[in-house]
């Protein structure tokens, strides 16, 4: 039997105790009291679902008590007990919001079934409320997703359109710089001023370029495609893309992969982006002669991808903030502060989790837990026809 929290109010002690005892035998153990005033004081202290309330009581009568209950606890259902042939009271009670009324003498079975009906009504109302709430939340998410999608498209377009003129400015500034180095311009007046200005232009280009790349990397991701992915292959590809930079910095990249690793269901392009972001980060954090280890392990129904470096480590006060957008400890213009933010957004989108551990002077490890199967079906059922990958895309500011 479901746990019905019942309060039984009647001033006739014998009748009350008899009913309460018999209800208890049927699995409902009610609270009890003998007056309207006591009833209200119990409601203040206890969570109650259903109140069985006698109408005819000295002091505050049942109808009056009912008014108070409905005013203060609208979710509570009240069953009234009226004297024999006093149906007028019952009707008045229903008008005041009672669930129903029963005429004394009360048949236990009858009372029991009324209590259950009242409780069932509460349950249904609760369900409806939850449903309405979740529908409202879903609608909100839908609006957010749509807003983000259009914002994303716009941002990608803008970033793209900016990159091209940026490249032209870059080449022009670079060319002028070369010209300034020519012998024929050796004696040019105020040459240093030109050189300084060109330097500033180049730094500005670098900065803008990094931001547009990150932005494109982030927003260009809405068309997620799930497929069977050989994570080992993704690691190889990413290492290949990043290897030159690592070699330039004399950083060694080592892989530790369980040969029986197998495949997972995920989005290959996004996984690649995650790996490249993490590897780039590690390379930047690791000095010459350092080492980056990539570990792939299977832990139950999950896979764990670890990127560990022997870099300088992250101070404790920054560790919690590394995933925040625009948080960067690199000097202004060097980092966008979007890399790890983007990485975390992607990992979460893929149903995974990312965490970081670090020891100053020893290095940093990023752990990415990914599900072997991205639970796309369940989400689809829960959220009806709503774009699943869109929902989870809530990491955006």
């Amino acid at each position: 039997m479901e746990n019905i929290r019942l309060l039984f109010i009647d001033d006739e002690v014998n009748f009350r105790e008899t009913v309460v005892k018999r209800l208890a035998k049927r699995g409902i153990v009610p609270e009890q009291a003998g007056s309207g005033e006591e009833c209200l004081s119990i409601l203040e202290k206890r969570d109650i679902d259903v109140v069985v309330l006698d109408i005819k009581m000295p002091g505050m009568n049942g109808i009056e008590t009912l008014h108070h209950i409905k005013e203060k606890y609208p979710k509570i259902e009240v069953i009234l007990l009226t004297g024999y042939a006093a149906t007028q009271d019952g009707v008045e009670g229903i008008k005041a919001g009672a669930f129903d009324y029963l005429s004394k003498p009360v048949e236990l079975e009858h009372l029991l079934s009324k209590i259950k009906q009242a409780h069932e009504k509460i349950r249904r109302m609760e369900e409806k409320r939850r449903e309405a709430k979740s529908r409202a939340r879903m609608k909100q998410q839908m609006i957010t997703t749509e807003r983000l999608a259009s914002l994303g498209t716009l941002a990608a377009g803008v970033a793209h359109e900016i990159n091209n003129p940026l490249a032209i400015i870059n080449e022009s500034a670079g060319w002028m710089e070369l010209l300034l180095k020519k012998e024929e311009l050796a004696e040019m007046p105020r040459k240093q001023d030109f050189e300084m200005a060109l330097d500033k232009i180049k730094k500005g280009i670098d900065r803008a370029g990094r931001i547009t790349h990150q932005l494109l990397g982030f927003v260009g991701k809405s068309d997620s495609v799930l497929s069977e992915v050989d994570l080992k292959e993704v690691v190889d590809e990413s290492v290949q893309l990043i290897n030159r930079e690592a070699a330039d910095k004399k950083v060694e990249i080592v892989q530790e992969v369980d040969p029986s690793f197998g495949t997972i269901w995920s989005d290959i392009n996004q996984l690649r982006q995650v790996l490249i972001n993490l590897l780039t980060n590690s390379i930047h954090a690791t000095g010459s002669g350092g080492k980056i280890t990539i570990i792939l392990e299977r832990v139950g129904e999950e896979v764990v991808l670890t990127v560990r470096d022997t870099g300088e480590g992250i101070p404790k006060e920054n560790l919690e903030r590394v995933f925040e957008p625009f948080f960067s400890t690199k000097s202004p213009g060097k980092g966008t502060g979007l890399g790890l933010f983007v990485t975390r957004s992607i990992v979460e989108k893929l149903g995974g989790k990312i965490k970081v551990e670090s020891r100053l002077g020893h290095g940093t490890s990023f752990f990415v837990n990914l599900p072997k199967y991205h639970e796309i079906k369940e989400e689809l059922e829960e959220n009806d026809h709503f774009d699943v990958l869109g929902i989870i895309n809530k990491g955006l500011p």
Binding site: A167, E171, W175, G209, N269, Q273
Partner: protein, 150 residues
């Protein structure tokens, strides 16, 4: 030491970009040809436009008509010795990965750092020269054997 210029073909539909990059590369002593589409790129390599042998192609990915990936596929099919460095405006790495799989020497994100580009050009040129050298050696061995048989 006299620098032997690398013969570079720059392919990008953004004319101002091509013009400035070419000027800059020429200023550093390279020999540069500029074209503005994948089609022109292939025509140039085909020798239709009477241009010197090309060592390295700098190829933009996003172009109207025949895009960079398609052009790269054709280049590698018809002129496997020509090295290709792709330029991508995408922050995403998909096109870079695809390009690398299709045999591009390396990739750069736009706007590219000139120092990076220069280093990559030099490395590409080196690989091209080594390739050519190996072919010359193989041909020489082949000829020697022929002579031996006679």
């Amino acid at each position: 030491m006299i620098k032997i210029p690398t013969r570079i073909l720059v392919v990008d539909d953004e004319k101002d970009f091509v013009e400035m990059l070419s000027l800059r590369l020429k200023e550093t002593g390279e020999k540069v040809t500029s074209v503005y589409s994948g089609k022109e790129c292939l025509e140039t390599l085909d020798g239709k436009k009477d241009v010197d042998d090309i060592d390295v192609v700098i190829l933009d990915i996003k172009m109207p008509g025949m895009d960079g990936i398609e052009t790269l596929r054709e280049i590698k099919k018809r002129f496997p010795l020509v090295e290709v460095i792709i330029l991508t405006g995408h922050g995403a790495t998909e096109s870079a990965v695809e390009g690398m799989k299709l045999g591009a020497f390396d990739y750069l994100l736009k706007p590219a750092d000139f120092k990076d580009l220069s280093a990559k050009l030099e490395a590409a040129r080196k690989r091209r020269d080594e390739h050519k050298e190996r072919i010359r050696m193989a041909e020489a061995r082949f000829l020697l054997r022929k002579v031996g048989e006679i």
